[in-house]
């Protein structure tokens, strides 16, 4: 014969354990809250004071001036380098830049065969090695095709160590030079 109970009450043991849980949780939460409220600002104030002292020390001692000087020197060096880079990039795009002409010449004559290549304002001289006379002729013919060069002539051709030492001169046409 089982008893009939219309309600499901919470057992007293569970009630007591719940009460204990609430008490301990309230204690812990209030302890943490008190710590945050009272000790947190104190720590923050100490941190703020330390930062201020550090700033003052930096400004008043030689260390701060040394850092400032180093910073300014770095900036100066950087700006100077920037200026030099700018000059180089500007020169690359000017008509005075001989790089495009040199690239064209190196496509015609193998750079390993070029002994010297000198340019003046209006003329140029190339000393190179050719294996035979037809090759030297080919060089002259191809150099004459370049729009920047005119009056390309063979100045000298003589044999040296089984190779033909070739000297080619001509005039640089400023108007047609590529920039």
């Amino acid at each position: 014969m089982n008893g009939i109970n219309f309600i499901n009450p919470v057992p007293p043991s569970e009630n007591n354990s719940g009460r204990r849980w609430v008490f301990i949780s309230s204690l812990i939460i209030s302890g943490i809250t008190m710590y945050i409220l009272f000790l947190g600002p104190t720590e923050g104030y100490i941190y703020y004071k330390l930062i201020q002292a550090r700033r003052t020390a930096q400004n008043e001692t030689a260390h701060g001036s040394a850092i400032a000087q180093k910073r300014s020197e770095k900036e100066l060096q950087f700006s100077q380098k920037q200026h030099q880079y700018q000059k180089i990039s500007n020169y690359k795009t000017t008509p005075k830049n001989p790089e495009p002409l040199l690239m064209s010449i190196s496509k015609i004559i193998n750079p390993s065969n070029i002994q010297s290549c000198s340019f003046t304002q209006r003329s140029f001289e190339i000393n190179c090695l050719a294996s035979h006379a037809q090759e030297a002729q080919k060089y002259i013919h191809q150099l004459a095709q370049l729009p920047e060069l005119k009056e390309v002539t063979l100045v000298s051709l003589y044999k040296e160590n089984n190779k033909l030492k070739t000297t080619i001169r001509g005039i640089i046409d400023k108007k047609k030079s590529r920039s």
Binding site: M1, N2, G3, I4, N5, F6, I7, P9, P12
Partner: protein, 229 residues
């Protein structure tokens, strides 16, 4: 070796439409009898608990709270209801483990039904079935919450009497003996007890007055205490 005896207290309430009976009972492990520490009774003449509905929760609540606080102790509150608001039946079924569909109940959602096995006779099994409206249960729970009363049991008076009957026989209780007694009394649980049963179960101090009207509710109060375990 001196054994420390344990003492258990409980405050029991028997609600009926015409009266409320409250009893502070104590049981010591050294004695089989209950002790009535205090007995209170209040007649209800103004429909405060008509059809077991708490029409005057303030008066009922303050009455119970004043009785409870006079004890000065924290103990569980055990309550039993008696009245027309309850649907109670003693049924004979062929099934020893019936489900709710086999009982002749309305299955309305606002009713709460409970049943318990009593005895078996002639291949049929007798059950005590009781039903109560859920709103009534809620009312008593709310009243207990409002007045911070530790309500542990809410049952019917007849169920409490069955527990008392079982306690009366102790280890000699048998379902067959209950069957014989119930059949001889036309399944009326109130008639299972006689005048001599009360002093066997409970010790009544001289300052507590018992009348004929309070005898059966007091037996039910002892049954409630026993149901608590």
């Amino acid at each position: 070796m001196i054994r420390k005896q344990s003492v258990h207290d409980a405050f029991t309430l028997i609600f009926s439409p015409t009266s409320i009976l409250g009893a502070w009972l104590t049981k010591r492990s050294s004695s089989p009898q209950f002790i009535v520490q205090q007995l209170y009774q209040q007649k209800l003449n103004h429909l405060e608990l008509e059809k077991l509905t708490i029409f005057n929760p303030t008066q009922i609540g303050s009455l119970i709270t004043s009785w409870y606080k006079k004890s000065g102790k924290s103990m569980p509150l055990l309550a039993a209801l008696y009245g027309p608001a309850l649907e109670e039946h003693i049924l004979l079924l062929h099934n020893a483990h019936p489900n709710s569909n086999q009982f002749p109940i309305s299955h309305a959602p606002h009713w709460h039904w409970e049943y318990t096995y009593l005895y078996s006779v002639d291949h049929r099994h007798c059950f005590y079935l009781c039903g109560i409206k859920k709103s009534l249960i809620f009312q008593y729970q709310l009243m207990a919450i409002l007045h911070q009363l530790p309500l542990a049991i809410l049952t019917t008076e007849r169920m409490a009497l069955l527990h008392c009957y079982r306690f009366l026989f102790g280890s000699a209780f048998r379902a067959a003996q209950l069957a014989t007694a119930m059949i001889s009394h036309n399944n009326r649980i109130e008639n299972l007890f006689s005048v001599d049963d009360l002093p066997r179960i409970v010790h009544i101090p001289s300052h507590v007055k018992i009348t004929n009207q309070t005898a059966l509710p007091l037996l039910a109060a002892c049954g409630l205490f026993q149901a608590q375990g």
